[in-house]
Amino acid sequence: MTTTLSAPPQPTRVPRPWDARTQRPAGNRVVKGVIKHAVLLCVLLIMLYPLLWMVGASFRPGNQTFAGLSLFSDTYTLQNYADGWSVGNLNFSRYFVNSAIITIGQIVGNLVACSLTAYAFARLEFPFKRVLFGMVIATMLLPQHVTLIPKYIIFNQMGWVDTYLPLTVPHFFAVDAFFIFLMVQFIRTLPKSLDESARIDGCGHWGIFWRIIMPMSLPAIGTTAMFTFVWAWNDLLGPLLYLPSSDLWTVSLGLNSFLDQTGQSTYGTLFAMATLSLAPIVGFFIASQRLLVEGIATTGLK
């Protein structure tokens, strides 16, 4: 006996009211796309305007810095860049080098120490683990001003003031709870079966950390590096306290030296050097943008 299977009847699709939108003429879609992008461009321009104005003002003569809200000027000059670059007895490049040393030190410290700490909290079992992790997280709630003076006293007694050490060495002791939390969250999302497989293959904790966890945590590492870079590069209070000598100043202190609320501020040179100081941040952001987005998206930090 044979059975003939006939194709089931195709359901008749009932037109929906919103179908009209998808069936609109191509011309309409183009117009709406143009309008949408025009609006977005306007919003972008408004958001970027202060930045663009600063760049424009950096090319104006000193007495026309605040001449108006226009991006353009009757006269343009590079004098602000020349004056700003050869600030004081030094050269602004010195401040860039100092900032780079501190920033790289903090990035390396945070990556090494926070990733190791995060691995311990995410994968190891040890007494008081939950309490200790809670305490680490609780330090994020502590305002930095509470620890400011005790820290200064300790570093001063150690003879570390006027050196890079107070701004770099502590980062090798996992002091940034935010990054520990970020990495713990990320490592927890990685399957433990990978660790177990590695263990069967003979890996110890160091091998699992270095060969399994680290390669898979690149987005979290990129996010940590990016945030550390921006925070260290822009930090004013830390360098202000610990680097009083001008030959150790960072870019942020150099920029601050153009301001004088009791005398004459040189805003033109300030804007010129601020424009230059943005370049490393923008470059670093573009380079690590993909990792940053993945890191934030996969750790739920939104």
Partner: protein, 442 residues
């Protein structure tokens, strides 16, 4: 298992905390013994001041001259903008690690005197280590703390002043202000100017929120702004009278409206006076040159410094003294005293400094800077001549108590604006100001 272990940790934690507190307490021991500043000049000193790049360059030029005169001295320097300077100084003072030579201002000095972080300089003056003979006594008193001792030697004087855009004043038909006036004449002057000013331009700043303008009003009437106990020396009725004067000017559209005033950019080179939107501003006298430079970029007219109105008790202008003191943790007092003496009194050095932080207190330096052959711009020389005239009128001194910086200006401005914006009545705002301020002063 967990609890006993936790309990074992507690004594250790308590010990660590105890050690930390003890070591902090050790840092807060009393001041070093007073010195007469005599001794060998040499070794290393740290010098700290506030200012931007322009002042840094001038200060470094003076330090170079000092090092030429004293080649055996090594001078390490620290500088920062005014606000950041005191942020750092406060932390350094807390850890007893202030630089040897610290720049100080009369508005700040009593905070440091109270914490015993500065050395009295009276013995150094008496021994001749620091020469103050060329500084008028009333000006020198600006460096005294609330205990009457001298804690810094003023080298530069700012004075509170009114800045008048004379181009706008001519346009408004009131002309330049007189050399001296009283408060009625001042109110009449700005009131008459109102109708003749261009749209969007106001006759006078919102002086009700300005502590400097209030001091001028108070001292001109012989009112003591702070009493001997470091509390407010004026009455609530007096403050109501002052604030009412300015509220009336704002209501009539003569003074800047509160919303515009709240949005005014900070700094003499960005404010409404510098942008040509204000005829009479309330600024330190030494900001005239800076404001004029911005105004020139806009063809906004000519500025002129004018004295505050006098009161029945006399002149309304007070002086704001800045100078160098010596920290109590300094271990090289003779060299620090030699530096202060040089910075204050060396004519060549001060000519190079070009009165960058107010008018020079040393009369010889003042004469040199105002002489016919002085290289200072005319406007800057006018500033100095105005200081000379004010200082010869024996201006009153305001003794700013400890805690002044933390509370007074903020509370004064905020409570006035609460009334101006209609959120508090005048009585409520005055009560709030008195409660808030007296709780923190002294």
């Amino acid at each position: 298992m967990t609890k006993p272990r936790f309990r074992r940790l507690l004594p250790g934690a308590a010990l660590v905390l105890g050690v930390a507190l003890t070591s902090t307490a050790c840092l807060n021991q009393g001041p070093a013994a007073s010195s007469d500043g005599q001794g060998e000049v040499g070794g290393t000193i740290q010098v700290a001041w506030w200012g931007g790049e322009s002042r840094n360059a001038k200060t470094n030029a003076v330090i170079e001259q000092f090092n030429e005169d004293f080649p055996e001295v090594t001078t390490e320097t620290q500088s920062a903008d005014y606000a950041q300077y005191f942020n750092r100084l406060n932390v350094q003072a807390s850890s007893r690690s202030l630089p040897c030579v610290v720049q100080m201002q009369d508005r700040q000095v009593n905070d440091y005197v109270k914490r015993q972080t500065l050395q009295p300089l009276d013995d150094m003056v008496a021994s001749g280590a620091i020469d103050t003979s060329k500084i008028p006594p009333a000006v020198l008193d600006g460096g005294r703390g609330s205990d009457g001792k001298l804690y810094f030697i003023p080298y530069g004087i700012a004075w509170d002043a009114l800045m008048v855009n004379t181009t706008l004043a001519e346009e408004a038909g009131v002309g330049a202000p007189p050399e001296s006036w009283d408060w009625d004449q001042f109110v009449s002057y700005v009131s008459q100017a109102k109708d003749g000013l261009p749209d969007g331009t106001y006759a006078v700043a919102a002086g009700g929120e300005e502590q400097n303008a209030f001091y001028a009003w108070a001292v001109g009437q012989g009112i003591e702004v702070f009493n001997a106990e470091g509390q407010l020396g004026f009455t609530k009725e007096q403050l109501k009278e002052y604030w009412s004067l300015w509220l009336d000017l704002q209501e009539q559209g003569i003074a800047l409206p509160p919303d515009m005033s709240a949005e005014e950019p900070p700094g003499a080179d960005q404010g409404y006076l510098a942008t040509g939107q204000l005829m009479v501003g309330v600024l330190p006298g030494n900001s005239l040159y800076v404001s004029q430079q911005t105004l020139d970029g806009r063809d906004g007219g000519e500025l002129q410094a004018a004295r505050y109105p006098d009161g029945p008790a006399g002149i309304g202008n007070i002086l704001v003294a800045s100078g160098f003191g010596i920290s109590s943790n300094c271990d090289n007092v003779p060299t620090s005293a030699a530096f202060i003496d040089f910075f204050t009194n060396d004519v060549d050095a001060q000519v190079a400094f070009a009165a960058d932080n107010g008018a020079p207190t040393n009369t010889e330096v003042l004469d040199a800077l105002t002489a016919e052959d002085s290289e200072l711009p005319d406007l800057k020389r006018d500033e100095l001549e105005q200081y000379r005239a004010i200082s010869e009128d024996n201006p009153p001194k305001v003794n700013y108590p400890p805690g002044f910086n933390a509370v007074f200006q903020q509370a004064f401005t905020r409570n006035y604006n609460e009334v101006a914006f209609g959120r508090l009545t005048l009585d409520q705002a005055v009560d709030s100001f008195f409660n808030e301020t007296n709780a923190s002063l002294g």
